[in-house]
Each structure stands twice: as structure tokens, then as C-alpha cells.
Amino acid sequence: MLRLAKIWRIVRRIVREPLGALGLGLVVLVVLSALFADVLASYPPTKLSPADRFAPASFQHLLGTDHIGRDLFSRVLYGGRIALSIALGATGASLVIGIMLGLIAGYGPRWLDNILLLVFDALKSFPTVILALTLVTITGPSLMSVVLVVVLVSVPGYARIIRTQTLVLKSAEHVMAARSMGAGSARILTVHILPNVIGPILILASMDIPVVVAIEAGLSFLGMGVRPPTPSWGSILNDGFANIRDSYWIVVAGGLPIILTTLGFTFLGETLRDLFDPRLKGRV
């Protein structure tokens, strides 16, 4: 009960900011439409109907159809599920791994810190796409591969931020105080460090969700995204690019949800950041 009241208070604070309200609205819209895709969609997302291909937007097909006559509106709705599950799954996994590695690097012995930093830097020095291509070539295109790519790409960033903050907190007085009382490393990390570093990173992660959607779209564009006929926004875009000359609406159908989701999460993340952690303003 208390929690609900707290969440409601936070929501009210977010909604007070115009951009926050817009962001929250968009996110809610995307999440709901993904959740209720089966209710809202009038066609199965993978149903082929070559006879209806390249139909422009109409009442039958709100966003038109693609090159094999699939209803784009339905695909966009179901694509939301894919995008959100990749975004949440991959971001969640990256967070867990990144936080763990960051805590280890920041609090653990120096040599381990050095090794981890080296690995992070090495990973970071690969251009993302090349890392992604190499990985997807190894694992074959699939939802898991996309998640793996995202994890590899984002873990170093999270881990580094957590590490830096852990290093700072390691010598903070409240941590010293806990140590002086005899608290072990596990307690210090979980009780005294983690709660103080996790807020900013969660906000940053919410702002990374659109990046994940973009990575998925980019891999699909290179034919290395999720497996067909899975309706992902990236693969809709890819189909759209192939037919952009005469059927612009396919690219619009694929691009619009990406842009809206990105804007939604970014605005929401920013509002949260400004409300709860103004210190973070310095980073994008």
C-alpha cells in the first residue's frame, strides 16, 4: 500500500514536467500496446497474404502491408514485445553483470581491477558493429545473439561507472565506519555501496533502452537480427528499405515505433534523472 502511494507520488512528480509526462505517456503506450498486442492486432503478425502486398495504410491495414502482405500494424504491435523483451532482457542482464563486475573491480584487489579494466577497454575499443557482426557470425542470428551483443557492448560501460563510484564510496566515511564496526565485504557491498550506486545506473539504463532497440534494428538491417518471421521493428525497417522507393509506409511503420520508444524512454529517463539524481546531469 505504502509502495503504491510512493510510486504514485513519483508519477505525479514526473507528470509535472511536460517532457516527463510525454515520456511516461509514450512508454506506457508502448508497453500497453505490446502487452495487449493479441487483443489489438487484427491479423496474426506472421500471416502471409501475397495478394495484399504493398497495400498503403487503410482502415483494413492501419499501417499498410509489407512485401508479402503482412499487416504492418499487427507486426508493429508484436514487434513491441520483441523490442521490449530484448531491451529489458538485455539491459537487465547487462545491469546485473555490469554491477557485479563493477563492484568487484572497484572493491576487489587492485590486480583484478586492472585486469577487468583492460578487458573493458579492449571490448570498448572494438567498434560495436564489428563486435556485433563477429559475434552474430559465430552464434548465428537469433534473439539470444542480439541480447549477447547488447550485453557485451553495454557491460563495460555500466561496470566502469559502478567501479568509479565504488572506488569513491570505498573510502567514503560511511563505508569506513561500517568497516570499523567489523562489517565484511559482502555486507559492505550490498548494504553500504550497492544502494548508493544503483540509482544512477538504473536511470542510465533506462536511457539505454532506446540504444538497445537501435542495435537490434541495426543488426536486422544487416540481416543479422532476430530470426524471421519474428516481427521485429528492425526487420520491418529492413523490409522497408528494400522497398523504400515505392512503399515508403513500411519504413515509416518500422521507424516510427523505434523513434517513439526511444523518445519515450529518453524523456522519462531524463526526468527521473533530474528529479532523483541531478549529479548525473553531466553525462548524457
Partner: protein, 519 residues
């Protein structure tokens, strides 16, 4: 994708990956008349890596070597497959095992390598044929005995056995290109990316990797003149990019993606001719009889009934291509009139049910190309309809072409595949990959038929067209009878060029640079 193989290698070209990006992309020169007066700007689907005809990697290289080096004969443009003499004044088959030739007197090599002689012919052809040289094209001359030099300009080509594809897919390809013996020897037996001793109507003037290759008219070439002073060849892998580049006016000529043809025809860019060419390529949907559940002939047959080939081809090629009856395209010896098994979902459903595989999930491997994906998705829907779940696995070209290789553990798991091979205009090119000895190499369906194997050997040495026709039809019957194959299409090739260009195309749409002219 297609690739038309301008050489034997066509398949390998596809394999090589660049090819995988698409037939659509061969070099299709086009010129934009007003733009540069006498400059033709064309697109090729891959950049050059090596300009030695004996080691060329992909069709775009063959298209270039065909104009900067003189071959004995060269393929001509037109709606029928044909050839004309290039380096030779005369060439004729004296008997099944002997061909005589006489070179034109006056073909010179650049860079001071003198005049082309019969000695150079002997050197060039034997170089390709000799297995020691590891030319991937040695098969083009697989029955060569030797080349006999009679005098400075004439000689005889002696074969060990009759070789039916000689006049269709060996001589009119870069495999008959004549290089300077001295130049090649001095270069260490192999030419690199900078050609020496060029001898054709055009010379390679400049190569900027991944940017363009510039050909200029060879002032010393005395015979059939090219239509342009310069030809600029831009390597553009992605066919959609090439189409957009064409529309933006950066190209005069390009091969289009198959999926665009019908829409481009309906609504062509300004001042443009869009043509559709029948392709030699063949696309099929295969099942590996070595792997369950396709080890059961009834399941294979059921799938043959289950696939709505018309719908598959229609969806994948946007109505531009029609279904095929086999692997040998119309117009060639051995083309079949009709299929043995076709769409009958009710029968299929019964057989699947009877075989007890209903509800199983099978994996369909494809190359990550739009058309293949669409085809696979329709097949997926078709099979779903009769009770089989299909998981589509897209592979990049590097992975795809090794899926069925016996070096790759995956070949033991490979269940279904949508495949596309391309070929030279001789039926022997289509069939040789399906022999039992090719299992674990290119025969991914594990199709094995002694009769088929025997016919493949006989078909190559039989010179009588009528007899060959019967043999090759039989071979395709055997394939379809096995249940391993669902023949889909021969595709079409789409080409567009400015109306200011008179494009010179082989029957399958491949360009003949030397014959392009301003309209």
C-alpha cells in the same frame, strides 16, 4: 542472387561470398549519355581482387578481363547464347577431339610484350588446364590433351575426349583468354590486380579499391571498337543502394534486385529502360534424406505436395519470376516441360499424419537474402498448414556455404535448405553437383542415384543434342522422384539503363562491355 556465371566458377563465386550479395549486382554498366559524353558509368556487385583470368574470383573480374585481354572467342550480346571470334581470325572444330585456330595478325600486348602468338595460346590454355597450377577453372579444360603450335599464329587444340560444353561454357568465357607467355612468366606465373600485357579493346587505366575501376579505349586495338572512351565501374554491394544511386543519376546502368523488377517496370525512373532477362540460375528447396524426418521418403514426398511453389515464387519475386520445372532453364538442352509432383495440401497433410511426424519442428537454413527469406517464410506457412513447424535459420554467406560440407559437423544436422546455383549455358553445369560423390560437398540433400551419376558422365561427352536432351530430362526426373527436391524457379534478372545507352546483354542479362554503345 544470381550470378550468372560468366565462368565455370559461377558457383564458387557465389560461395566466395561477394557473390552472395547478389546476382543483382553484377556489373551492369550503364551510361548516361549526356552526363559525360563518352563515359559509361556502371555498377558491379563486387570489387576486383585479382585480374588473372585463370584465378578470377567473381563475375565482375571476368567482365573486365573479357575486355582488357583478348580471348580466343567471346560471348556476344543478344537474346540467344552465342559467340564471336576475338583473338582468332578463324576457329573451327575439325573433329570431336581437335579444334584448329588462327590468330588475328596484329593483336599486341601492352607494356612492350609484343605480338600475340600461338605460343601464347598454348601457354595460356595449358596453364589453366594443368592441375599443378591450381586454377579453379581447370575443369573448363578437363579433357585437354595439349595445344599444338603450328606456326606463329595458328595451332591445334587436342582433346583426350569429346567435351560437349566446350563451345558453350569454356571457349566463350575468360577460360579462353590469351595472356602473354613472357609477361606471365616474368610476373611469377600469376597476374595480380595490376594487369600487365593487356591486349583487348579497353585498357585498365586506374583502380581505386572500393571506389571504381576505370577502363579506357585501347588505341592499339584495331578490330571491333567499344562504344565509349571510358567505362567507370563502381563496386556497389547492396543492390538497393545501387538502385538509389542509379536514380540519383550516379550510374547509367545497373542490375536491379529481383524483387524490384516488377515495381520498376510499372514505375520506372525517368528516361530509363527496365528489362527483364531470363536467368540461368536455379533455385530449389531441398531436403536432406540423410537426416530425420526426411530419411522417410513419404515425408519428403509429403513436403513436395505441401509447398505451393507458385505462391512461394510469386511472393519472393513479386510476380516477376515463374516457377521452374527443374534445374535446367528454358532454352537449354534438357529443359523439362513439367513437374512430377505439385501442390496438393490435403494429400500432404494425410501423408504427414500417416508418417507420424505431425507437429514436429524442422529447421530450414537459408542465406540471408530478402528473396530467400520471403520464400522460406511462405514455405514455413505452407508446412505449418500441413502440420510441420518450421524454424528458419538465416546464415551469412560465409557460414551458409559450408553448412553441407563434410568438414562441418552441421552437415549431419542439416534438414532443409533453400538453395540457388547458377550456371553456364550448358546443362552439364546444372547436374554435376548432384552426384553421390558430391555428398558432403555440394550435394547437401544426400541424393544418391547410380543412374544419375552415370548420366552425368555420359552427358558431358555426348555431342548429339537430341540425345543429350533426353538424358538431362531423365536426370531431373530422377531428382524429383527421390523426393529431395522442390524446384522453385530460375529467377529473372532485372536490368535498367538510361535510354541514352544501348546496352549489350547476354541472354541472361550479363553485360558485354565491349558492345555497349551510346544510343
Amino acid at each position: 542472387m544470381s550470378n550468372i556465371a560468366s565462368t565455370n566458377l559461377s558457383r564458387r563465386t557465389v560461395l566466395a561470398g561477394t557473390g552472395a550479395l547478389g546476382l543483382a549486382s553484377l556489373i551492369y554498366p550503364a551510361r548516361r549519355a549526356q552526363a559525360a559524353g563518352s563515359i559509361l558509368k556502371v555498377r558491379s556487385y563486387s570489387d576486383i581482387q585479382i585480374l588473372d583470368p585463370a584465378f578470377r574470383l567473381a563475375a565482375p573480374e571476368g567482365d573486365i578481363t573479357n575486355v582488357i585481354f583478348a580471348g580466343l572467342v567471346v560471348a556476344t550480346a543478344g537474346d540467344k547464347w552465342g559467340w564471336r571470334p576475338m583473338a582468332v581470325e578463324t576457329i573451327e572444330q575439325l573433329d570431336p577431339l581437335t579444334i584448329s585456330f588462327k590468330l588475328r595478325d596484329g593483336i599486341g600486348f601492352t607494356d612492350g610484350f609484343g605480338q600475340m602468338t600461338a605460343e601464347d595460346v598454348k601457354f595460356s590454355i595449358e596453364r589453366i588446364a594443368d592441375p599443378k597450377n591450381e586454377s579453379p577453372y581447370s575443369g573448363d579444360w578437363e579433357t585437354l590433351k595439349e595445344v599444338e603450335v603450328k606456326d606463329k599464329l595458328s595451332g591445334l587444340i587436342h582433346l583426350k575426349e569429346a567435351f560437349a560444353p566446350l563451345w558453350t561454357s569454356t571457349l566463350p568465357t575468360p577460360s579462353s583468354t590469351i595472356l602473354s607467355k613472357r609477361a606471365v612468366t616474368e610476373a611469377g606465373g600469376k597476374l595480380g590486380v595490376e594487369p600487365v600485357a593487356q591486349s583487348g579493346p579497353y585498357l585498365l587505366k586506374e583502380w581505386l579499391p572500393k571506389q571504381r575501376t576505370v577502363l579506357v579505349r585501347n588505341p592499339d586495338w584495331k578490330y571491333e571498337q567499344g562504344g565509349y572512351d571510358e567505362i567507370h565501374i563502381h563496386p556497389i554491394e547492396d543492390e538497393k543502394t545501387a538502385e538509389l544511386g542509379y536514380e540519383a543519376g550516379d550510374l547509367d546502368y545497373t542490375w536491379t534486385s529481383v524483387s524490384s523488377i516488377s515495381r520498376l517496370k510499372e514505375n520506372p525512373p525517368a528516361d530509363t529502360t527496365v528489362v527483364e532477362k531470363p536467368s540461368l540460375a536455379f533455385v530449389w528447396f531441398g531436403m536432406n534424406k540423410a537426416v530425420a524426418p526426411f530419411d522417410n521418403p513419404d515425408v519428403r514426398r509429403a513436403v513436395q505436395y505441401a509447398v505451393d511453389r507458385k505462391a512461394v515464387v510469386d511472393a519472393a519475386y513479386f510476380g516477376a519470376a515463374s516457377t521452374s520445372t527443374g534445374i535446367i532453364a528454358p532454352g537449354l538442352i534438357g529443359h523439362r516441360e513439367k513437374n512430377l509432383y505439385d501442390y496438393d495440401p490435403d494429400k500432404a497433410r494425410e501423408m504427414i499424419e500417416a508418417a507420424g511426424v505431425s507437429g514436429q519442428t524442422v529447421v530450414l537454413d537459408i542465406l540471408n537474402k530478402t528473396e530467400r527469406l520471403t520464400a522460406a517464410q511462405v514455405i514455413q506457412a505452407n508446412l505449418q498448414d500441413v502440420g510441420l513447424n518450421v524454424e528458419i535459420k538465416q546464415n551469412d554467406s560465409g557460414t551458409f556455404w559450408t553448412l553441407g560440407s563434410k568438414d562441418n559437423e552441421y552437415h549431419k544436422k542439416l534438414q532443409m535448405v533453400v538453395q540457388r546455383f547458377s550456371m553456364q549455358p550448358d546443362p552439364s553445369w546444372a547436374t554435376e553437383w548432384f552426384t553421390s560423390s558430391q555428398i558432403g560437398t555440394w550435394n547437401w540433400e544426400s541424393f544418391d542415384s547410380e543412374e544419375f551419376d552415370k548420366l552425368v558422365v555420359e552427358g558431358k561427352i555426348e555431342l548429339d543434342d537430341a540425345k543429350r536432351d533426353v538424358m538431362y530430362k531423365k536426370m531431373q526426373d530422377l531428382m524429383e522422384e527421390s523426393g529431395c527436391y522442390v524446384f522453385l524457379t530460375h529467377e529473372v534478372a532485372g536490368v535498367m539503363y538510361r535510354n541514352s545507352v544501348a546496352a549489350a546483354l547476354k541472354p541472361n542479362g550479363e553485360p558485354v562491355f565491349a558492345e555497349f554503345k551510346p544510343a
